[in-house]
């Protein structure tokens, strides 16, 4: 009966509950550590990753092409010109609160900008940067 109750509880809690940016970064860091023992997320690496000119495509050469160089600023979609709300949780409290949404946007935008999926380490660093004071600028 106890096992059954535990399973039932687990099943009922399937949809991801809201999390904080730090929790989301920590989850990615844990994933990264499985292939890179001792990995810990670095906001500095995350900032460098964010600013890097990947130049894989003409329209979206970098993350900043849409998000600008300041995570607290509103951005504009490089192709459609649609306004994009700030990336920084400090400026936009909804950012990095839903693991499912975070994964969706990593899946799309990493392919758009890097031409490949981002590694768990890159994701951890990036979220760490945005959660930090550097990302609030």
């Amino acid at each position: 009966m106890k096992t059954f109750g535990a399973i039932l509880l687990a099943v009922c809690s399937l949809p991801a509950v809201a999390q904080t940016p730090s929790e989301i970064s920590a989850a990615y860091a844990e994933q990264a550590a499985t292939s890179q023992p001792g990995f810990s997320a670095s906001a500095d690496h995350g900032r460098a990753f964010f600013l890097k000119k990947w130049n894989v495509t003409e329209k979206m050469p970098s993350c900043t092409a849409c998000h600008t160089e300041r995570p607290s600023a509103a951005g504009v979609h490089a192709v459609t010109s649609k306004p994009i709300k700030p990336l920084s949780p400090a400026a936009n409290p909804q950012r990095f609160s839903s693991p499912a949404k975070v994964e969706k946007w990593f899946r799309r935008n990493c392919n758009d900008v890097l031409g490949r999926e981002c590694t768990p380490g890159e994701k951890a660093d990036f979220v760490q940067y945005l959660a930090s004071s550097g990302g609030a600028q």
Partner: protein, 155 residues
């Protein structure tokens, strides 16, 4: 004791089923607004015919140069919602490219817009409805809310 276990099992199954079922119609509209309005204005369903929407939703991984894939149930739900509100299939709202801006209806409606207007940096592309249709985010494309930007006069 046995009936308690049965009840718990049924509750468990019911909760799984609730999460697994496709979102009802009201939620499909909300899903459309969120998913289809995240990179561009959520183009109203009446701008394309049902076969067009069906084809577009079946090819989200190659959505005009981007991968806009969603999970299967959200895709099915939004697709049905769009098709139920689509334009009539009479050719006016049809385009081989699936671009709304290339449908005969759109071309005719925008025949007074000059090439210079389309090229204006404040407009950039026909996908950018909001540049001139100030009520686009609210789904309002009426002429009384149209203001064409003119970079030459710094308006």
């Amino acid at each position: 004791m046995k009936s308690h276990r049965l009840l718990a099992a049924l509750l468990g199954l019911a909760s799984i089923a609730a999460y697994a079922a496709a979102p009802p119609a009201a939620d499909a509209g909300a899903a459309w607004k969120e998913e289809c309005g995240s990179c561009h204005v959520a183009y109203p369903p009446r701008l394309l015919n049902a076969p067009g929407w069906q084809r577009l939703m079946q090819g989200l991984e190659r959505h005009f140069g981007a991968n806009a894939q969603l999970d299967a149930q959200t895709t099915a739900s939004i697709s049905a919602w769009l098709q139920s509100r689509a334009a009539r299939s009479d050719g006016r709202h049809d385009a081989a490219s699936l671009r709304i801006s290339e449908t005969p209806w759109f071309v005719r409606k925008h025949r007074e817009v000059s090439a210079a207007n389309w090229r204006d940096p404040q407009v950039k592309s026909a996908a950018n409805c909001g540049a001139c249709h100030r009520g686009a985010e609210r789904g309002n494309f009426e002429e009384d809310e149209v203001m064409v930007p003119d970079s030459r006069s710094n308006r």
